[in-house]
Symmetry: C2
Subunit: 324 residues, 2 copies
């Protein structure tokens, strides 16, 4: 299995990207990583490190895509950028099964949609990031922002793709799928939600358990939540934001008085644990579902461990043939 | 100033509602409360308590509206319910300036829209709940669910109404208004967001500061966020939900080991403080903006203090004439 790694995307590139690739190589014996970026800087990152050289390939592609590029322009004008070159190779090279990038989301999605074929029956690919739940499990959210305007049929497709993904990459047997809505009752929401509810209820291949209110995202009662990309984006960012702000407040509190500081000494491990628990980097990136090959978008601020986690997601989702 | 209180709405009615009314009477010397509900049970709640009897009126209206009622049916068939009777009196009695209810949201909004006149130039009323920010201030979110399908022009109206509300009820001189979006750049989002961005930028009466990502809701950088009712609902419930789940996890952590328990002893005050900080009941209810008179929807689980806070919001918003 070959996986392409964009080594020019993200705040800590190329070191985090190269480090992540080497970590993933340790984990999977049949994995070969194809590193895209500036050949010299990739080589200098590799130098002095122990790794299986026969499972590392470098494709020199030193140009960099940025957030201001339009996908169509990037494809046309930045052919020698790490991201576009990797997307083109993913399309053309049978051996390469997946791509991991921490670069500009819009360009990555656009170029992937324009250049990689879609799975049969899927109208639009969608992101499915993974969050930790308070009961120790995970929950996927599909879509978190690839498509803002959607139809009920697309939401049904998200449920199918997300179900297949959670089974394959996380070994969840029969994922419980919910529809994000403003209330749990069947008739809640607008026409989109009511129509999607009906389709999901009828869909035999999906274990649909009804509407979910956003406050229950982390409850552990659901494995997958389907929603339009706008509200999915709001859902994930506000959940992450609120948890992090809460921890920040607690940290400030514990340094505000002598007695609290003493308490904090004892609770240090707990606070650390909770911080790690909420650290998105421990849960990998957002997999773009619906294309013939897997594309994983990592956070811009990913470190080596986070990139390795993204590669793991790409590996598990791509192994043994197509997603659905 | 007379304010109508629906004493049959909410999980703790009528005791919380009556208790809240009495607390509010202590606070505002020129306030008279008009209590709607079962006369006998209201009287028994009042009995034995010290209060200015000349500023308390009771309107016997013992029927109860519930979540399954359709607004139009409730208006027609439950004329003697506490909620509908209060809405009708709010419409017809000049002296009554506002209504506070913790009852069924859908019926309250529907009946208010159908029976109370709209402010000039306002297409649809919208909810504006208030959340605490991490910097110690507050932030309003308009709309949190009164209208799911909206136009750019409606979002502009939300900005105007919310600005007036924050000035009047919270004394914020020049509220910083943001548009909820999937990114901060001007061109982000769908047609609705891009068009609303333009309108808000041109609106001289609004201090528009640009797009806001949902993770920044509690940052203290904004005083008002405008959005469609669906994503506003997702935004608020996921923020509240995440904060509460986080505190639950911390509580579980601190009881999980001996050393943590010792730490928790020292940190007890901090944990309590944070819980109170996140307790929505300390921030009142959602004011329905856009009608000629003010309607405040309190949480279903409101206690007396929360009801008093709702009455305070109604009072401050109604004093000295119309909102805008």
């Amino acid at each position: 299995m070959k996986i392409a790694i964009d080594c020019l995307g993200g705040d800590n590139s190329p070191s985090a990207n190269v480090e992540g690739a080497l970590l993933a190589l340790e984990r999977f014996d049949d994995l070969t990583v194809v590193l895209y970026g500036e050949e010299e800087s990739i080589k200098s990152e590799l130098s002095g490190k122990q790794y299986p050289a026969d499972r590392v390939e470098i494709v020199n592609s030193p140009e960099k895509v940025d957030g201001n590029d339009k996908p169509i322009d990037a494809i046309r004008l930045k052919k020698n950028s790490s991201m576009i070159k990797a997307v083109m190779d993913l399309r053309e090279n049978e051996e390469i099964k997946a791509l991991v990038s921490c670069g500009a989301t819009g360009v990555l999605v656009g170029a992937s949609i324009l250049r990689i074929g879609r799975l049969e029956g899927i109208r639009r690919p969608a992101f499915c990031p993974i969050l930790p739940t308070m009961s120790g499990g995970i929950v996927g959210v599909c879509d978190s922002g690839a498509n803002i305007d959607v139809t009920p049929e697309q939401l049904r497709q998200y449920a199918l793709m997300g179900t297949a993904y959670l089974k394959k990459a996380y070994g969840i047997e029969n994922p419980r799928v919910a529809l994000l809505n403003v209330g749990t009752e069947e008739e809640k929401g607008d026409d989109l939600r009511r129509e999607a509810y009906k389709l999901l209820k009828e869909e035999k291949a999906v274990n649909f358990v009804g509407n979910m209110e956003s406050r229950d995202l982390l409850s552990g009662k659901y494995d997958l939540v389907v929603c339009d990309g706008f509200s999915g984006n709001v859902l994930i960012k506000s959940t992450e934001g609120a948890c992090l702000e809460m921890l920040k407040r607690l940290k400030k509190d514990v340094t505000s008085s002598f007695w609290n500081k003493i308490g904090a000494l004892f609770m240090l491990k707990t606070v650390k644990k909770e911080k790690a628990f909420m650290d998105y980097r421990n849960y990998g990136g957002s997999v773009l579902l619906g294309l013939e090959k897997i594309v994983v978008k990592g956070h811009g601020s990913s470190n080596g461990v986070a990139v390795a986690k993204c590669i793991e997601q790409a590996y598990k989702t791509s192994v043994n043939g197509n997603l659905i």
